[in-house]
Symmetry: C2
């Protein structure tokens, strides 16, 4: 590795406090606290919006909608089809498969901890989960259903009207796109993965990570990964360009029309990265070590030594938290 001297550059980081030290060299355990200050443990809940109160009724309704395939054109695809609870709430294939077996443009991002992201979708075209929720229902290569038809489907079941009434008491049970989105967003904000070895380590348990994982954490800081992968979800929610094998698309340019955004994609969360392969917006890399190597070369101009790479991979495994234990709802 070409040491990046990151900790001495004092790049301002959102949500991270840099306690700078001039000399870098091989950091030892005496300054472990400095490294730990670069991070923050995952809070129990993401930030909550002022206008979408999170009641148990709304969360329950959101869970029903998340597992509901009848709001897709074929009646067989739900949010949970691609955001599969058995597969890290993603799908573990390169690019998503949707309506009529169509292969989408991009890899399915996990919904785990998605409430912590400041930009939704790989191109950041929505700022929050409320804005995100209805997109896949209407996308031609995902669930392929017009929103009005989806609402008509739900209205077939009086049980749904009752749930909407309980979740939105002022609506009198009316089903709208807006309250569907609010309910699904409320449910998704419960899908967090606390208490990873990394979180326990940050909270003081020095035995929660192995020595190699601690070394990996230091490398993660020293080599500069933390410049973009920071904050509670280890992402800055900003957009970057790099080369990948396989098909790609114009990325953030599609949203902004700004040439500077062409082929730029959002920094993904590294929370649970070991169980949310394959990687990058086109899912072209399945191996975690290979993904880290590619990032090192292209984003940091660094070639990691084999033993460094191993420690970084070990550290990534420490980011796997406790999975939400969800029992699928009994739909009407």
């Amino acid at each position: 590795m070409t040491r990046f001297h990151f900790r001495s550059t004092l790049i301002p980081l959102a949500g991270a406090v840099l306690i700078g030290t001039a000399g870098v060299a091989a950091a030892d355990n005496d300054d472990l606290a400095d490294y730990m200050d670069m991070f923050e443990p995952l809070p129990a809940m993401p930030p909550l919006p002022a206008d979408n109160t999170m009641t148990p009724e709304k969360i329950e309704l959101g869970k029903m909608l998340f597992f509901e395939p009848r709001i897709s054109a074929s009646g067989t695809i739900s949010c949970a089809t691609c955001h599969n609870p058995a597969l890290g709430w993603a799908d573990r294939i390169d690019r998503s498969v949707g309506h009529d077996g169509q292969v989408g443009l991009r890899n399915t991002p996990t919904v785990l901890n998605s409430g912590f992201l400041e930009a939704q979708f790989w191109d950041g075209r929505e700022p929050d989960l409320e804005g995100q929720a209805l997109g896949p229902i209407e996308a031609d290569d995902e669930m392929a259903m017009n929103l009005d038809d989806a609402i008509e489907q739900l209205n077939e079941f009086e049980e749904y009207n009752e749930h909407f009434r309980a979740a939105f008491p002022e609506s009198d049970g009316e089903i709208t796109g807006e309250n569907m989105a609010q309910a699904m967003a409320a449910f998704q904000r419960t899908l967090n993965t606390p208490n990873s070895p990394f979180d326990r380590f940050l909270r003081g348990d020095r035995q929660a990570m192995s020595d190699d994982q601690v070394e990996g954490m230091k490398l993660f800081v020293d080599s500069g990964c933390v410049a973009c992968h920071n904050g509670p979800a280890l992402t800055d929610s900003r957009f970057y360009e790099f080369d990948l094998p396989g098909p790609t698309d114009e990325g953030r340019f599609v949203v902004t029309g700004d040439e500077a955004d062409r082929n730029h994609f959002r920094t993904p969360t590294l929370r649970n990265v070991a169980v949310t392969y394959p990687y990058f917006h086109n899912g072209s890399i399945s191996d975690l070590g290979e993904a880290i190597n590619l990032m090192g070369e292209q984003m940091l101009g660094t070639e990691f030594e084999d033993d460094e790479l191993e420690k970084l991979v070990d550290f990534m495994h420490a980011l796997t938290g406790e999975m939400p234990q969800i029992t699928p709802p009994a739909l009407p």
Copy 2:
């Protein structure tokens, strides 16, 4: 209704004891016990095969395989896709949708209580769950994956070998079609729905069913439904012919080549019938009352009065048991 005088005909019924009474007329509560003797509550477990011991390790592995989409050609279809825990462990569409959006010939039967059936598939081509388990993996219009390829997929994950080793200690972790089938069958035998209102009623709780449901139960016996819908799962697992709207196929004839079996299909379980619509082998009828009417007309030569139909529908709702509370596994 043309009263069928079923209870006086003393048709021998497998698993049901007939305490015959000569006079029929309007039965009153005094002979309720006679009606109750026609039925049996759902046992906690179905019959277990002598050669597939049911260990927690095997059940856990079977659950993993049941939720595993990577043993399908697209990597996106698992057993749980059509046998969806959120939809009564079936799919609530007319006919199943499989690989590349292909629509299959038949309606997806629920796996709930399927260990109690003496014939698997609508055409009874397999006698038990071990025989059934691999069929949908290899079917071109379902998961569309060659068994050898499925095994190769599983062998990609050392974690699967460990689970096979734990479930089949003598196999040394080798993955074969036979042990896959045994594990999935063991898991499916846990998917039972005890303690329906009907079961509680049969066990002595006279308040478990409403008066209309009790009347419906009597009608179910008196009109002859119980001739085919008997035993713990309320099916004789035999094969019958009748006319339905919509597409059909040759049914049991495909299995036996016997002309007498042409267009014959297995009697379905009535357990959880209210939550496992649509009905019949082609899923052409969604309304439970309509399904009962059709059966009355074609199988019993009976036209039910409106109030009789309502009571029969009410009784069917009493057959909904407690759904298994399954948390999807965390797959490797």
